[in-house]
Amino acid sequence: MISINEVLETNAMVSKMNLDVRTITMGISLLDCVGADVEDTCNKIYKKITTKAEHLVATGEKISEMYGVPVVHKRISVTPIALVGGSVCKTTDDFVKLAETLDKAAKKVGVNFIGGYSALVCKGMTPADELLIRSIPKALATTDVVCSSVNVGSTKTGINMDAVKLIGEMILETAELTKEQDSLGCCKFVVFCNAPDDNPFMAGAFHGVTEADCIINVGVSGPGVVKSALEQVRGENFEVLCETIKKTAFKVTRVGQLVAKEASKLLDVPFGIVDLSLAPTPAVGDSVGEILEEIGLEYAGAPGTTAALAMLNDQVKKGGVMASSYVGGLSGAFIPVSEDQRMIDAVSAGALTLEKLEAMTCVCSVGLDMIAIPGDTKATTISGIIADEMALGMINQKTTAVRLIPVIGKTVGDTVEFGGLLGYAPIMPVNQFACDKFINRGGRIPAPIHSFKN
């Protein structure tokens, strides 16, 4: 029999520590939606999404009510659109029509984001891949809830530097096209190395080609729960610290597993994975930066931060893996800047720099995330930052990502407000030394030696 203390503990996690299931993401394959022309394809895409996801939002709300745990987001990921539109889209505007269809379908079913306006070009770009990438600025400027991602590298293939160069230019163009909203378009775009096929988190979610027709993936959260647990073990040694994080991660992930199984049952869609991530929000008490402080750092970014984050990330995985039958996605600690109040504070205090964040991404679950930089940053510099981050992923056999927002018209010292979960951020300084000759070489960086395992 469950004891009253266990019940109270669970409910306190929800009411006082921001425990929630961050997202139920339905992955939908659109490979069977390729039509005779663009219009036919759009119609098939709209029909499939609105049919498969018709009850997604209501189901999420029902589960939330049943267990008393908020299910914050209900979202959709689809097959990378470069594959779906490859045979019918002949211009960038053709691809934009597909983006508009995704936007319309997502709004119809009531989800708040749809991911998969994507291309997988880690070794090379097909003409369709390139068209899609070139269409990203317009697609993100003309839609509201469509998220885009491009995988430009992997441990197995190396890094497609032509794509890295092109994406630097596209990020600036996206910023320019959405400058009236503080370059908000860039918040909906992420570039990856080793992108997972089953990631439920935006902006990088897409439904990989290795996946079934339709699946349910769930992303859990819970930085506030870990932070509160660590308050109880202040001054204790690392053994106690690690045990506490593991146990907490286990409990948080169990909630995700339960919700995922229930959603799968109610929607009659197979369960894919639980992504056991610590995903912060701008809310006080829902911050990974705060956990790092509780571990013993004055601010995130202080010496010791990389070690603390490595330990945190590892313990979250160790605790979470046993709690779920299938773990996947990004799974680990996210370190976005604008979406985490204490990370914002650390940047404002001068404790956290872009270079330190880069080091932290070697051991966190993703990468440079939601970082606002000056709007006059050169495209090649953005590509250089992307290349560095992709190299970390390629060599370390992990997912890395870059979501930079060059805010047009703003510079270091300014602050940018994106609103809602996207939060706000101080503009961070970028290294001003050039890398044009490096980026302009073209071609690709070969796969690293340790990828040859056959």
Binding site: M1, I2, S3, I4, V7, V69, V255, Q257
Partner: protein, 90 residues
């Protein structure tokens, strides 16, 4: 059996249990177990109930309990027991 966990949290006062129990009796909800404790001056009660015979579903009961909670100044929640089982039992 459709087991649910009902929690009542709030400032202690006369008649909290009575009010909740009367509602359960009126709606054919069987109480299987009651535990209560006072933490930091706050009244915490947990009831394990079976709602199988009740004509009302969890959502309807939840909204009724919300209203009762408001009347007597406490917070009453009803949840599926599996969330607690999942989190605290391997």
């Amino acid at each position: 059996m459709k087991k649910r966990i009902v929690t009542v949290v709030g400032k202690d006062s006369v008649g909290i249990i009575a009010k909740v129990c009367v509602y359960f009796a009126d709606n054919e909800i069987n109480i299987l177990d009651i535990t209560q404790t006072i933490v930091g001056g706050y009244f915490n009660m947990m009831m394990v109930v079976d709602i199988e015979k009740s004509s009302k579903g969890t959502a309807a009961i939840a909204s009724d309990l919300d209203k009762i909670g408001e009347e007597i100044g406490v917070q009453i929640k009803i949840q599926h027991e599996s969330i607690f089982e999942s989190m605290h039992r391997i």
